[in-house]
Structures are given as structure tokens and as C-alpha cells.
């Protein structure tokens, strides 16, 4: 429950509107509460044979009160529910902006689905509590007080008797709500079991078919389905209670009034009109009483959601500018001279070092090639430069500045990276290429796409650079994606360009074209190229061979071949592979 206190700053931002909303609720309820009195008086007047014009007056007043009350109801919703939507907006904004600032290490431990759940269903639960929750609790509270005041003024004894079932309704609704919630959790679990089963069966269909286990799997699914069936019916058993329970108890109130009120009328303590009033008031109280139990359920649901929300927004981003940051360092100061001094790295919580004692100098304006088996630490090594991670020990400097004193935006603006997986956004190709700028520079975009060997492909699309990618647009081939990703990095005109195995899906001819184009662009800049293919890196100024997180060999292509070590072996194998594929 305490976790909901975290909503305080969000609520106080709309303090005035919420207060106004509450005043309006009081006015609304008051207007509505007096209507039955008017009707009661009208009935009494009718019983006493009043003038038609008097009765018409009563009727008009009754309608008028509802008109006034209804206007206030309109304003209530426009205030309180709207505020809840505003807060939802704020919460989602805060959540999303926080996500944007959290480092890679955070994302490694979370699944996308899990984070999506936070952003959607948890915030939804909180919103439901804020909007309907707050509105109905204010309404219920106010209505209860005003109605009780009026009813007690009519007749104390009848009021106590008539209200006797109401707390029972609230309790019943609360209990049924809790049971419903627990049982629907079980239904949800069963459903996710069933979903998993279907998912697993369809994924493993080859095994199932080759061992002829379809019948068995059908039976297994049948079991899960049956379990779901039984759990759903158990839920239905409770749910089926709520409706009859509700009108049984309100019906009971009315019957009690009819009897005890009737006796009071006979004794002359009450009028028949009073009975009419009771019937209407009790009808008005039913819903708020039900709402009471319902609100408690909303709170029960919102509290854990708010806790999950806080759990994430409370995480401080590890990698961020701080006291040590030197804000005098500007982008123009960065030239691209990189130095790794005794750098070691392991992922948090892991025992094994991914990089061990790496010492490496990359001069500005040169090309470094990196080769090595999967898992040898190549990607980790280059990820240390834009500070995706910080080294566990050792130091990296850029133009003599330790990385952690360079403002993060200066550092990252100076580096263009083409990651292993070419992630593109589902917007136009042009916007993807010009991702680094807010306004597309057409010339630069076309130039970059030419250098990345993408231009010819784009020219063939009917909508050219406006072609939309992704689910709603076209699907690019692996090679096209890689080249778009390269164009995106080139467009940025970075001081340091990193290609992380980014030419793997590109054929050798295109590769050569891209590499020679890069050569001229990167003349005065630093490039780091990771590849599995010798052909990609053989012209680099310096090549390192990584093995189990250590630099095993270093030198130029010819020097490395002469060593007859790992590099030489890879070279031989790739020659052979080429021969076979040409057969």
C-alpha cells in the first residue's frame, strides 16, 4: 500500500484541479440528493389532493435538480478523470525517458516483454486507481454522508433498519472481488500454461511428427485445456454470485423499508411520500456501496504495479555525466587517438573476464582490423569506447582524456558505430540514414548512401528515400540492412567509425567498393573494423587477433601471415572455402 505514496508528487501537480473536482462532486451529490425529497413531497402533495400546478412545480424542480446535478457530474468527469489521464501521461513519460537513460547492462537482464508490461498494464492499473478510483471514492464518501443526513432526518429507526444490509453488500463485494481476483490469477496462470504448451508443441513439431507423438501432444494439450476449463468454471462460480448478491441485498433494503416504514406510516410517524423517498435513496446508495468494495480491489491492484514502476524508475543510470566530467571538452577537440591501458572487463555478476589486460594504441587517421572467434571479446572491446560499458579495471583514453571525463554526448557524437545486428527503425530509409540529425540533409544523405553502396538499391524503390521500412513497409535484405546501417554511421561524419562485423551479409565486390569509399572518407579519421573475413581487414594499418579476451597476435596482414599463427590458419581455411564454393 505504501508504494502508492510515491504518487504524491504526481497528484500535487494537479492539486488545484483535484480540489475543484471535489467541490464539484459535493455540489453534484447535494443536487441529486435533494431530488428524491422533492419527489416524496410531490407524492404527499398528491395524496393530499393538491393543485395540478403545484404538482407540475414539483415535477419541474425534480427535473431541474437533475439538470443542475448532471451538469456538475459532467464537470466532475471532465476534471477528475481527465486529471487521471494526465497523470497517466506523466507516468508513462517518466518511465519511458528513464528507460532511455538506462545502460545496456540493465537491458541485458530484462526482457522486452517484461518492460512493455510495465509501460502498459502496470501504468494502466495505476490509472484505473487514479481515475475511477479517486472519483468514486470521493462520490461514495460524499453521497453516504449527505444521504445519511437526510434519511436520519426523516426517520432514525427506519434508516438504521434500511441501511443494515448495506455494509453487508460492501463486505460481500469486497470478498467476492478478492476471491475473483485470486481465482482469475489462477485462470491467467492456467492460460499461460496452455499458451506455453501450444507454443512449445508448434516449435517442436518436427520432433513430434518424426516420433509420431501427435496424439500424445493432443492429449497433453487436452489436459491443459481441461485444467483451464475447470479453473474458469471455478471463477465463474464466484463471479455468478456477485450480481444476484447485489440485488438480493438492495431488494432486501427496499422490502425492509416497505414493512417497517409501512408500520411507521400506520402509526403516523411517516408519510407515504417518505417511503417513495426511501426507495429512491436506497437505489442511489446501492452503486456507491458496490463501488466501495470495487475501489479496494483497484487499490490492491495498483499498489504492486506502482511498486514495479518505482523499482525501475529508482534505478540510477550507472553511466552518466557526473562531478568528474570536464564540460570544457568539445566535439572539435576530439581527433581520434585511442589508447587502451591494461583494460580488463567482466560483466557484472559474472566470474569470467571477457577482456584480459588489453593494451592497444590506435593512432588517429588509421584503420584497425580485429579478427577472432565468436566470444573472443571483439564486440565488448569496441563497446567500451562509446561507454556502453565501463572497463572493470584499466583505463581508456581518447586524445589523452580518460573516457569518463569526456561528456557522454561529446563522446558518443564523435563515434559512429555500425553494430553487428543492423537495427533499423520502422520509418523511411531517409530518416534512418539521417538518424543523427533532426533535419535531413539531402545531399549528405545521398552521398552517404552512395558510399555505403546503398544508393542503387534505393533508386529502385518507387518511393526512393521515402520508402517505409518494417512491418508497415518493405523488408530489406540482410545486406541492404547492413548498408543502410553503414550509411547511417557515415552520415554522422564521426571522428571514429566502428564497423562491428558489418559487411558479413554483403558480397565481396560490394564490400570492396564500400571499403575503398570508406578509405577516402576516413582519411583523417580513425576506423575500427571487426570481421570474420580476412578480405575485409587485410588492408588495415594494424590488425589484432583476439583470443579468449586477449590480444594473441598483432601486426599488418603480411606480418601476421609471416608469423604462421592463428591468423595464418584462418587465412588458409578461408582460401579453401573460397575454392570449394567456386566448384
Amino acid at each position: 500500500m505504501n508504494s502508492l505514496l510515491a504518487l504524491k508528487p504526481y497528484l500535487s501537480k494537479y492539486r488545484n484541479r483535484l480540489f475543484l473536482g471535489y467541490i464539484i462532486i459535493v455540489l453534484h451529490i447535494t443536487a441529486m440528493a435533494y431530488q428524491p425529497l422533492v419527489i416524496g413531497d410531490a407524492i404527499d402533495a398528491i395524496s393530499n389532493g393538491a393543485e395540478t400546478s403545484v404538482i407540475l412545480n414539483y415535477a419541474l424542480i425534480a427535473v431541474g435538480l437533475v439538470l443542475v446535478g448532471g451538469t456538475f457530474l459532467f464537470l466532475t468527469r471532465q476534471n477528475i478523470i481527465v486529471v487521471s489521464r494526465e497523470i497517466e501521461n506523466d507516468l508513462r513519460y517518466d518511465f519511458f525517458s528513464h528507460l532511455q537513460r538506462l545502460p545496456k547492462s540493465f537491458y541485458n537482464s530484462r526482457t522486452t516483454g517484461d518492460l512493455m508490461n510495465h509501460a502498459i498494464s502496470d501504468i494502466n492499473n495505476i490509472r484505473n486507481f487514479l481515475g475511477p478510483g479517486i472519483m468514486y471514492s470521493m462520490q461514495t464518501f460524499t453521497r453516504l454522508i449527505i444521504t445519511l443526513y437526510i434519511l436520519f432526518n426523516i426517520n432514525v429507526k427506519v434508516t438504521i433498519i434500511a441501511l443494515a444490509p448495506l455494509p453487508v453488500i460492501s463486505l460481500a463485494v469486497y470478498l467476492i472481488g478478492r476471491l475473483t481476483y485470486n481465482r482469475s490469477l489462477k485462470v491467467q496462470e492456467s492460460l499461460s500454461d496452455l499458451t506455453t504448451k501450444a507454443q512449445e508443441t508448434f516449435s517442436g513439431i518436427r520432433v513430434i511428427k518424426s516420433f509420431m507423438r501427435e496424439q500424445y501432444e493432443n492429449l497433453e494439450f487436452d489436459k491443459k485445456s481441461r485444467d483451464f476449463f475447470h479453473k474458469s468454471l471455478k471463477l465463474a462460480k464466484v463471479q455468478a454470485f456477485s450480481f444476484p448478491m447485489m440485488f438480493l441485498l438492495t431488494g432486501l433494503s427496499i422490502i425492509l423499508v416497505l414493512y417497517f416504514g409501512g408500520v411507521q406510516v400506520m402509526e403516523g410517524n411517516m408519510t407515504i411520500g417518505n417511503i417513495g423517498e426511501y426507495i429512491i435513496y436506497l437505489g442511489q446508495l446501492t452503486w456507491p456501496m458496490i463501488a466501495f468494495g470495487w475501489i479496494i480491489n483497484l487499490i490492491q491492484r495498483a499498489a504492486p504495479s506502482m511498486k514495479r514502476f518505482k523499482d525501475i524508475t529508482d534505478i540510477e543510470p550507472e553511466i552518466a555525466d557526473g562531478k568528474h566530467t570536464n564540460h570544457n571538452i568539445k566535439e572539435r577537440d576530439i581527433e581520434g587517438e585511442i589508447l587502451f591501458k591494461n583494460v580488463s572487463f567482466k560483466y557484472p555478476g559474472s566470474e569470467n573476464f571477457v577482456l584480459k589486460n588489453v593494451n592497444l594504441k590506435i593512432h588517429k587517421g588509421t584503420v584497425l582490423g580485429i579478427i577472432g572467434a565468436t566470444g573472443s571479446g571483439k564486440t565488448t572491446l569496441v563497446n567500451l569506447l562509446p561507454r556502453v560499458f565501463d572497463p572493470t579495471s584499466g583505463q581508456i583514453t581518447l586524445d589523452g582524456y580518460p573516457l569518463n571525463i569526456i561528456p557522454i554526448n561529446v563522446l558518443r557524437n564523435s563515434i559512429g558505430i555500425v553494430p553487428q545486428e543492423s537495427f533499423l527503425f520502422s520509418t523511411s530509409i531517409g530518416k534512418n540514414i539521417a538518424y543523427s540529425s533532426d533535419v535531413i540533409d539531402d545531399l549528405l544523405m545521398i552521398e552517404s548512401s552512395k558510399q555505403a553502396g546503398l544508393y542503387k538499391d534505393v533508386a529502385e524503390f518507387p518511393r526512393q528515400f521515402d520508402t517505409i521500412l518494417g512491418e508497415r513497409g518493405i523488408t530489406l535484405s540482410g545486406g541492404q540492412k547492413q548498408r543502410t546501417s553503414i550509411a547511417r554511421a557515415i552520415y554522422k561524419q564521426p571522428k571514429i567509425l566502428i564497423l562491428d562485423d558489418s559487411l558479413s551479409a554483403v558480397d565481396t565486390n560490394t564490400e570492396e567498393e564500400i571499403l575503398s569509399a570508406l578509405k577516402s572518407i576516413m582519411k583523417d579519421r580513425t576506423s575500427i573494423i571487426i570481421s570474420h573475413r580476412i578480405s575485409t581487414i587485410k588492408n588495415a594499418n594494424n590488425i589484432i587477433v583476439l583470443r579468449k579476451g586477449m590480444i594473441a597476435e598483432e601486426g599488418t596482414h603480411n606480418e601476421l601471415l609471416a608469423m604462421k599463427g592463428i591468423y595464418f590458419d584462418i587465412y588458409q581455411k578461408q582460401l579453401l572455402e573460397e575454392q570449394i564454393s567456386k566448384l
Binding site: A59, Q100, F221, E471
Partner: protein
């Protein structure tokens, strides 16, 4: 995803689909009839109670008749309790019917999907198939359970209330109902506005979701390019329009609810004004007046509910269309009408002029010819994409050949039932698929005829004994989804045990390329030896040790058989095999 959601909202009600859906109701016709009867009873009882109010007020209270009042009270209490009980029974019964129909339907879909051939699975994302047996079916539940039966209930409530009102006083009824057209009109307008607004909200929600999802998946790019602020700004735009659209729907509700109350109040006002006049002239009694006020309050809910039901039905149409589409998909691979049944298979396999392509334009296998004699062990080698796995797929009849024939013991496999064919073969795939369950269930795959003795024998022969004995629960050790708690080597050994326990005549093995530690490597090599002993074996081999145990090597390249022979023969040929040997096998140590 988003597109289908958009469609889901505006699906006209299709009679043909409706009729087909109704066939699922048939087995439960009796119960549905009962539920309908119950719901009519409920609405009658609910409408009956206020009709007693005038009697209580005019005849009993007004005349001070306490015993009479007590009698009325007892009748009221009685009907109230009966109504509660019947209501409970009806609600439960409709859920029960709905759940049963859903259960049948779900089973139907699942079994049908399972019966389809691999080509279907190649073309359908698994997520989509799962949706068919889960959320699509769930949408229909609403129609089957509450939807149809309670719609009857709503209609009858209206009918009963009108009946009782007319019985009490015709004129006053007409006066009361005079606001009805306004109410219906307001409801229709509101529904239309809200539906449109919800449609927009839904589109915005999926836009919002897509944006969040994309920027969580692509967080690295955002951060590499320093675009956090711009991303947040873009997000806020969508977030904002989502909020604004929601505010619009709040506005509609904020208008609608007071309007309904006002219409109700006008109706009450009319009753007081007109009815009051009548009462003064003693045409009607005060009790009747109060009863009418009660009725007018009961009248509005069912009208609102009915329009809700129509929406549910529209959504159900889209789901049922998708479901029937799957149910109407037929498997192109069929068992023959008059199958030949093979009992004691010898294990001779022939491929004669076999051609095959997965998608009709690129031949994956071109004119494949080879013969494998009973008990022979044959290794298939070649680069990735050479067509080795396709040979296995065809032999297991996951797909049918485009041209040529495959013979088992001289019989075209298309003349056998798939069950008969697969009874004699067992396949060990490179990517070991483990199901969540236990070690035992993963070895037997649920076949209860396999005894524990057989399982243990298979475990011994596949070198798993030491590992299984080290587990506290032995065979009952729990295996997670996709077997993530086991090492790659252990998973392979389990899949070997799985094949051994089925004791097939023909073994198909797609050797895994992933590297394992030396100890496991030795275990695997022994297990493979055990696996192929005394069976016709077809192996897509990656281990030199495995190749050397084979009688024959078939070298494939770009969909063709290039060389056939023994290891020594092929090496001395100095052809493709020699090159592959140099590339892949030469450096492998032989743990012999």
C-alpha cells in the same frame, strides 16, 4: 498486428460465419434452451416485484392492514430469493456452456494444426498459430457465454416491464415511455462516437506500444547516436495524442451519463406531473405512481446493454473468420487410401531421380540417386546448403518429392501411412528440442509402453547414466522450457537416448556442430557408435570419427551428389571430399 486489430473493430456480421459458429452450439442445445428459460424467468420476477408496491401501499399501508402487509412482504422476499437463486444458476450455466464450447473449439483447432504438414509451419509464424488457440478463442467465449443468452434476458426484461406497466395503467405507461425515443437516439449517437473514439484510441495504443517496443529493442542505436532526447520528444507526441484522444472519450461519457440521468428524471417528472394529476382525480392510486417510478428506473439498463452486445458480436466475427481459415487449411501430404503396411522392415533405401524445391523456384535437390543397403551406415557430407538436411526431410516425408521416388524396401514411401513409415525410423536432430517436463518424459515423449528398464538401458547406452544418477530426482528431474538448465552435450545425449528407446530399424542422425568439452565428446562418440549399431543409419556427419565408422560417404554439393565412396577411396580421389577433409576434419583429434 496493428492492422488486424483495426479490422477486428469493424467486421460486419456475416450470416455464413454465424451459421457455422452456431453448429458449435448444437450439442448444448438443451442447456441453452434451459438457460433461455431461466433468463426469461428472472426478468419476469424482477418486473413482478414493483407491481406489488401499489398493493402494499394503497391497500395495506393506507388501510393499516399489518398482516396483509406482512403477507406482501413474504411474497416479495420469496420472489427475491427465488430470483437470486435462478440468477445464480443461469449465470453459472451460461459460463458452463461457453466454456464447454470453447474447450471443444480449442481442441478442434489444436488437433487440426498438429495434423498439418511442415510446409504449413514453415509459412506460419508460431506466434500467430498460438493466437488462434488462445485469444481468438477467448473472444468467442463472450459470445457463447454471456452474449446471446443475456441478450434474450435484456429483451425479455424490457418486454416484461412494459407488460406490467400496461397492466397497471395504459395511459401512464405511454407517458412514461414517451422519453424512450430520445434515450434510444442518445444511446445510438453515443455508441457511434465512442466506438469511433475507441477505434482511434486502439490505433494510438498500438502505435504507442510499437514505439516503446522498437525503442527498447533499438536502445543501443538511440544511445550510440545520442538521440535520447529526441526519442523522448517523439514518444511524448504519441503519448500526448493518446491522452488527448482519451480525453475525448471522457468527454463523450461525461455528456452521456448525465444525459441518461436527465432523461430518467424527465420520465419521473412526467410520471409525477401527469400521474399526479390522475391520482388527484383518483383515476390511479399513489401506489401505482410509486411503482411507475420504480419501473422507469429499471428500464434503462437493458437498452444500454443491448447495444454493447452488438459490439461483442462484431469482434467475434473477425476472430471466427481467422479460426475457420486455419480449420479449412488442408494438409497437402496425405496418407494413401489403400496403404501398404510394412511390418519387418529390412531397411533398404533408394532415391531414384529425386528432385525437390521448397518454394517452386529454386531446386534444392537435383536428380539425386543413391542406394543404401539394409544395415549399411552412410555419411552425408558437404558444405552448408548442399541439401543434406533436405534428403532427411524427404525420407521422413515431411515434404513430398517433386519428381522421382523414394523407396523403402522397394516400396514407394507414398504408399505407406506416415505412421507406419515413421514407426521404423527415428531422427536425431542437430538442434535438440527438449519439452518442459521431466528427463523421463523427454526420453519417452509420453509413450507409456516404454518401461523404466528400457529407459535405463537407453541411458546406459547413450552414456547418460553418470549424469542422471547425479541428479536427486533421477528420471523425474525437471527439464525447463527448451532445456535451458542442461548443457549442450547433455541435451544431445538425451536426444540419443530418445532415439535408442524407440529402437528403430532406420536411424537418421543430424550431428551437431557445436563444440563440447573433451569428456562429453568421448561420451558422444561412444553413444553414436551405440546408436548406429545394427541399424541402417543415415548421418549428416561433422565428426571425422563418425565418418570413419561409416561404410559409405555421399558427398553433396549444391543440391547434387558429387562423390560416393569410402573414406580412403574418396581421399585418394583428391576431389571435393579431399578439400572438405582438409577444411573441416583434418585437425580433429580421433579419441580412439
Amino acid at each position: 498486428m496493428t492492422r488486424t486489430e483495426d479490422e477486428a473493430l469493424n467486421k460486419p456480421i456475416d450470416k455464413r460465419l454465424m451459421r457455422r459458429l452456431l453448429t458449435y452450439f448444437k450439442p448444448y442445445a438443451k442447456y441453452i434452451l434451459l438457460a433461455t428459460f431461466l433468463t426469461i424467468t428472472i426478468s419476469a420476477l424482477a418486473a413482478f416485484r414493483p407491481s406489488l408496491t401499489p398493493i402494499a401501499i394503497d391497500e395495506k399501508i393506507a388501510n393499516g392492514d399489518i398482516p396483509g402487509l406482512q403477507l406482501i412482504i413474504v411474497i416479495l422476499l420469496g420472489t427475491l430469493v427465488v430470483q437470486g437463486l435462478v440468477q445464480y444458476a443461469m449465470t453459472y450455466l451460461t459460463s458452463w456452456i461457453g466454456q464447454y464450447i470453447i474447450f471443444d473449439l480449442r481442441k478442434n483447432i489444436f488437433d487440426h494444426i498438429n495434423s498439418l504438414n511442415l510446409k504449413f509451419f514453415d509459412n506460419s509464424p508460431i506466434g500467430r498459430l498460438v493466437t488462434r488457440v488462445t485469444s481468438d478463442v477467448e473472444v468467442l467465449f463472450e459470445v457463447f457465454s454471456s452474449g446471446i443468452v443475456t441478450a434474450f434476458g435484456d429483451i425479455f426484461t424490457i418486454v416484461w416491464i412494459m407488460t406490467f406497466m400496461f397492466m397497471l395503467d395504459v395511459e401512464l405507461t405511454l407517458v412514461t415511455l414517451s422519453v424512450l425515443p430520445i434515450l434510444i437516439y442518445a444511446t445510438i449517437i453515443f455508441r457511434r462516437k465512442v466506438r469511433e473514439s475507441y477505434r482511434r484510441i486502439r490505433i494510438l495504443v498500438s502505435k504507442l506500444n510499437a514505439y516503446i517496443q522498437e525503442h527498447i529493442v533499438g536502445i543501443s542505436i538511440v544511445q550510440y547516436f545520442n538521440k535520447e532526447n529526441r526519442t523522448i520528444k517523439e514518444f511524448e507526441e504519441i503519448n500526448r495524442s493518446h491522452t488527448e484522444q482519451n480525453k475525448k472519450s471522457i468527454f463523450y461519457y461525461a455528456i452521456f451519463f448525465p444525459t441518461v440521468e436527465l432523461i430518467g428524471a424527465i420520465s419521473t417528472g412526467l410520471i409525477i406531473w401527469y400521474g399526479g394529476g390522475q391520482a388527484i382525480q383518483e383515476v390511479i392510486s399513489v401506489g401505482v405512481l410509486i411503482a411507475f417510478i420504480q419501473y422507469s428506473e429499471m428500464f434503462f439498463r437493458p437498452i444500454r446493454d443491448l447495444s454493447e452486445k452488438y459490439n461483442i458480436l462484431q469482434q467475434a466475427m473477425a476472430s471466427s473468420e481467422r479460426i475457420f481459415e486455419v480449420l479449412d487449411t488442408k494438409s497437402p501430404i496425405k496418407d494413401p487410401e489403400h496403404p501398404i503396411t510394412l511390418h519387418n522392415v529390412k531397411g533398404k533405401i533408394e532415391f531414384n531421380d529425386v528432385w525437390f524445391s521448397y518454394n517452386d523456384n529454386e531446386d534444392v535437390l537435383k536428380n539425386i540417386n543413391f542406394k543404401i543397403n539394409p544395415g549399411e551406415k552412410v555419411a552425408f557430407v558437404g558444405a552448408t546448403g548442399a541439401g543434406k538436411s533436405t534428403v532427411i526431410n524427404l525420407l521422413e516425408r515431411f515434404y513430398d518429392v517433386n519428381k522421382g521416388e523414394i523407396l523403402l524396401d522397394g516400396i514407394d514411401i507414398r504408399n505407406l501411412t506416415r505412421e507406419n513409415l515413421r514407426d521404423h525410423t527415428a531422427i536425431v536432430l542437430q538442434d535438440v528440442f527438449l519439452f518442459s517436463g521431466t528427463i523421463r518424459s523427454n526420453i519417452t515423449l509420453g509413450n507409456e509402453k516404454i518401461t523404466d528398464n528400457q529407459i535405463w538401458e537407453a541411458i546406459r547406452n547413450s552414456g547418460l547414466e553418470e549424469f542422471i544418477n547425479s541428479l536427486p530426482d533421477k528420471l523425474n528431474h525437471k527439464v525447463n522450457e527448451r532445456g535451458s538448465s542442461l548443457s549442450v552435450g547433455q541435451r544431445q545425449l538425451i536426444s540419443f537416448a530418445r532415439a535408442l528407446v524407440y529402437n528403430p530399424k532406420i536411424l537418421i542422425l543430424d550431428e551437431a556442430t557445436s563444440s563440447v568439452d573433451t569428456h562429453t565428446e568421448i561420451l558422444i562418440q561412444h553413444a553414436i557408435e551405440e546408436l548406429i549399431k545394427g541399424r541402417t543409419s543415415i548421418i549428416i556427419a561433422h565428426r571425422l570419427s563418425t565418418i570413419q565408422k561409416c561404410d559409405k560417404i555421399i558427398v553433396m554439393h549444391k543440391g547434387e551428389v558429387k562423390e560416393i565412396g569410402t573414406h580412403q577411396e574418396l581421399l585418394s580421389n583428391n576431389g571435393l571430399y579431399y578439400k572438405l577433409y582438409e577444411l573441416q576434419y583434418k585437425e580433429q583429434p580421433l579419441n580412439e
